[in-house]
């Protein structure tokens, strides 16, 4: 199980979760994982790439420039839909099964690439494993998935960024609404999470993010 280091903190749209923190600047970040992801998608044959992050013109532009078809599904936005919050004896809770019944539905072996970004650190816990399982089912053999995971050193107040592809080696990390990390995965957790994939490749970075490529 991943570590739930930061309790049950949840999104606070007005930034009150981290009082006193000033505005976070955008960053241009080098990414070895993105470089290998992009290199794997080179070629004349159009591929189908899924972007699970915020709708981004930059990502769309980059992928379509490579000649690929794109699918988009902003998972965090989708999870925020009140229709997926139900009343239970324990109070109002996110209903992962209901969400999965209406989202992340992809045909088997229909995707050549997927951009998961760092969503596994922020999505509701019951959603993460089913999501990755569905992605594994949806990837074609040889398909590649790119994900990012915060390390323990990132701390609970790590800024929440949206990822926009600048070029084949760089990401523009734009600060978004305040959103606390919900958990930290260690390498073993990550290997278990992606057990439906053939192999994994890790890139360690100096900014408390681990980059992971999962190959189907």
């Amino acid at each position: 199980m991943p570590l739930s280091l930061f309790g049950k903190a949840r999104l606070n749209g007005n930034g009150a979760a981290f009082p006193g923190r000033g505005p976070t600047p955008a960053l241009l970040r080098h990414s070895n994982g993105l470089r290998e992801f992009a290199a794997a998608l080179q070629g004349d044959e159009p591929r189908t790439i899924l972007d699970l992050g915020q709708t981004s013109s930059a990502n769309l532009s980059f992928l379509s420039n490579l000649g690929h078809r794109t699918r988009h599904e902003d998972l965090l936005y989708g999870c925020a839909d009140p229709k997926f919050v139900v009343k239970t004896e324990a109070g109002r809770q996110f209903d992962a099964d209901l969400f999965l019944a209406h989202n992340v539905s992809y045909g088997a072996a229909t995707l050549d690439g997927a951009l998961l970004w760092d969503l596994a650190d922020y999505l509701e816990e019951p959603l993460v494993r089913p999501l990755v399982h569905r992605l594994a089912q949806a990837m074609r053999p040889g398909g590649i998935l790119l994900a990012y995971f915060h390390t323990r050193d990132a701390g609970p107040s790590a800024p929440f960024y949206r990822y926009h592809i600048k070029d084949a080696e760089h990401l523009e990390l734009r600060p978004a609404e305040t959103r606390p990390l919900l958990r930290i995965y260690n390498n073993r957790n990550i290997e278990q999470l992606f057990s439906g994939f053939k192999s994994l490749k890790f890139f360690l970075a100096r900014d408390n993010l681990r980059e992971v490529l999962a190959f189907k």
Partner: protein
């Protein structure tokens, strides 16, 4: 944007209280602030979905601009523009696209190369809306 407005353009307009179920065909630009369920065909013209507009329809148009909510597939001969307040769920076939930060899109995008002689699409058919001029670089 002002309340009555710039986004409407000069063409036909369906106001907030209008609800239509069925097929809409038009030989001029159309702006919708009401609710439409069905099919919208604006061959060679522009559809604008206003901030309060709710569309559940298959849309064919030269250009589609979305400030409100659109559910359904879009076939745009030229471009689709999703404003930051806009939400689109469906598959899109188009030549060019612009998506503002904050906009929501769920579906497939198939960017189609236009015939020779047509205006060239932007790089890859996609436009970036807003970029900081300079960013600190994090080397890893």
């Amino acid at each position: 944007m002002t309340a009555t407005s710039d986004w409407r353009g000069e063409g036909a307009y369906l106001g907030k209280t209008v609800q239509i179920k069925g097929e809409i065909s038009s030989e001029e630009d159309l702006a919708i602030e009401g609710e439409v369920t069905g099919t919208i065909r604006l061959n060679g013209h522009r559809l604008t979905v206003g901030p309060m507009g709710k569309i559940k329809a298959e849309v064919t148009a030269r250009e589609v601009v979305v400030y409100g909510n659109l559910q359904g597939n879009i076939h745009a001969l030229d471009r689709v523009e999703i404003k930051k307040s806009g939400s689109v769920m469906g598959d899109m076939k188009l030549a060019r696209i612009s998506i503002e930060d904050g906009a929501y899109f769920k579906g497939n995008i198939d960017i189609q190369v236009r015939a020779a002689g047509a205006a060239a699409p932007a790089a890859g058919g996609a436009l970036e809306s807003s970029k900081p001029a300079a960013l600190p670089v994090s080397k890893v």
